[in-house]
Amino acid sequence: MASIEMKNIVKQYGDGFPAVNDVSLDIAEGEFMILVGPSGCGKSTLLRMIVGLEDITSGDMIIGGTRVNDKAPRERNLSMVFQNYALYPHLTVYENIAFPLRLAKTPDDEVRRRVTEAADVLELHEHLERKPANLSGGQRQRVAMGRAIVRQAEAFLFDEPLSNLDAKLRGQMRTEISRLQRRLGITTVYVTHDQTEAMTLGDRVCVLRKGKIQQVASPRELYEQPVNLFVAGFIGSPPMNFLPAGVAGDVLTTPFGDIELDERRAAAVRGKDLLMVGIRPEYFEDASLVDEAKLPLGSIFRARVDVTEWLGDSQFAYIPYEAPDAIRNQLRDLSRELDAEELRTQAIVSIDSTSRIREGREADFWLDSRKVHVFDPQTGENLTRDAEAGAALTRMAAEDRVEQVEEAKSRGGSSGLGAA
């Protein structure tokens, strides 16, 4: 088990394209770090540089206090789960899991003990003599994990390990990975483009965009205090709504009426001309269903609903709005960068599932103005970010992690793998 430190890591391909650009990141011992971003953001390249499958153009990669830039993958003692599992098809499940041990010339009875332990953890016992070709996707995934945990590696690296599984299995494996990581308490770096995985698994999440780090923080901080437009738009599903806004004193004028800002936010946006307001879908509500006590904390506006989606436990309403061309182009660029194609400017608002608001009708909506963020449309910077509150959230996550690891160890400590 070891910490991983990256200092000004750059990866430049032959044509001069920087896939990873000046990334500095510290991953603490035992921490679960997620690398997330849209396709082509350099997250997989970064992971492959950690494990040594990709050369580092410049910068320092330090694992457990040693600089490993020039070390071959086998000298780094890391274990990795590939996106397509990369099992050895000519070997049985047993031999697949034992492969790293065989290479290390481990004695036979030791191999048997460790493979059995790994198979116990992953419930692979009845499959040990089968070939990977005869296994289901989820079983192959478990074999790949078995191969990773069987040896006492410094860290686990996962490269989109769940993207080939169906939705249900993905959910199961996600909790399985989380449990395993807590139990073994081993440093883990996990690459994904799925934000559910990013939010649920990570102690901290590193959001990358075009090879550059945007923000490294706990999932909660990313969600509540995003550093810029990109992070705000990337984290959250359905995504944050961005509305054009003008400033008049302490009040923002938006297509959805005026939003009054508190002292701190008002100070941050004072003197600006055109702004973008970011409001998460769940900060809206059907005005007729809002508690009397809460009503004065937000503003009420009237709008025509285009489409509603009722999902049983929740309900989404789509409200179209007009935006100036500059904002519209900005939003289009952003959605394209996030691998989505936004065709019209519309707000997605989450309303109570019992709400009787119907398509094509006008309705009153309530908007919680305490939680809106204001972005500079030119730079994308979040003008109203409360860095202190964000840091507090991440600190809390770190404390939670220590507690969880200790608890998991005291519960599952009997397993020999716990000593890894």
Binding site: G52, A72, N84, L87, L103, L135, R147, N164
Partner: protein, 277 residues
């Protein structure tokens, strides 16, 4: 497929199979005819006789045929083994590494493969005589390598390209050196490709006639196809047709056996299950 289409496919298939296999059936029938029976004007022999087989295996032609069979087996197997080994390394490099001159190697290999054998056999004959390779096993193995290597490199690099890169990278992360990754992961996965290539290479060497007849002079190294051309009848007025037919059938047997034996290995699909299904 409709019923009519199926009928036509069937008819077409039968015609093609008949067209391809009829000469072989004819040779088989010829090999069982006694010398006097060869011109009997019918497809089947009047009486089945093993005389021709006796001639080439134990009789007058046996001192021509049996050493030739031994030579053919030895030379072809050695040439195949060497060419497979060399082609394996070359193909791996071509499939995996980026080095200058990669295209050049591939196109040179192709050029060698299409170069007419007959145009180099005369100079080769002179060179071989000068340096003492004439009428020896190495004297045939070396030209056979030039025939088999290009095709082996081409087929094997196609197979190597099919093996996912991740296999090797996974092995390296698991602690394998490049050589260990090659030996323990890539070679077993490439086995069907290696077998296929070996069989193709063996056929090419086994079927060669021009080198065999030009670069040998005695039974010390003469291969079967060349020996067949030197068969003679019981008297100078008699054609050795029956004996040649019998010998031709015998040299076909190893080829057929080889294919049947390795058919299951050739069938690809070993890599199934390596990556997502």
């Amino acid at each position: 497929m409709s019923r009519r289409e199926r009928t036509w496919w069937l008819v077409g298939g039968v015609v093609i199979v008949f067209y391809c296999l009829f000469p072989i059936a004819w040779i088989a029938s010829l090999s069982f005819k006694a010398p006097a029976d060869i011109a009997n004007g019918s497809f089947l022999p009047t009486t089945f006789s093993g005389e021709n087989y006796a001639t080439i295996l134990t009789g007058s032609a046996s001192d021509l045929f049996l050493p030739a069979l031994r030579n053919s087996f030895g030379i072809c197997l050695i040439a195949t083994a060497i060419s497979c080994l060399l082609a394996m390394f070359a193909a791996y490099a071509i499939a995996r590494l980026d080095f200058p001159g990669k295209k050049l190697i591939l196109s040179t290999a192709l050029a060698v493969a299409i170069f007419p054998v007959i145009s180099i056999v005369t100079p080769l004959f002179n060179v071989w005589r000068q340096i003492g390779l004439y009428d020896t096993w190495p004297g045939l193995i070396i030209p056979y390598l030039s025939l088999t290597l290009p095709i082996s490199i081409w087929t094997m690099s196609a197979f190597f390209r099919e093996i996912p890169w991740e296999m090797e990278q996974a092995a390296q992360v698991d602690g394998a050196t490049t050589w260990q990754a090659f030996r323990k992961v890539i070679v077993p996965l490439a086995a069907p490709g290696v077998f296929t290539t070996a069989i193709i290479a063996f056929f090419i060497a086994w079927n060669d006639f021009v080198y065999g007849i030009s670069l040998t002079s005695t039974s010390a190294s003469r291969p079967v196809p060349a020996a067949l051309g030197l068969f003679s009848g019981a008297s100078q007025f008699e054609d050795p047709t029956g004996a040649i037919a019998a010998a031709a059938l015998i040299v076909t047997v190893p080829v057929v056996l080889l294919v049947l034996l390795f058919q299951r290995r050739i069938v690809a699909g070993l890599t199934n299950g390596a990556v997502k299904g």
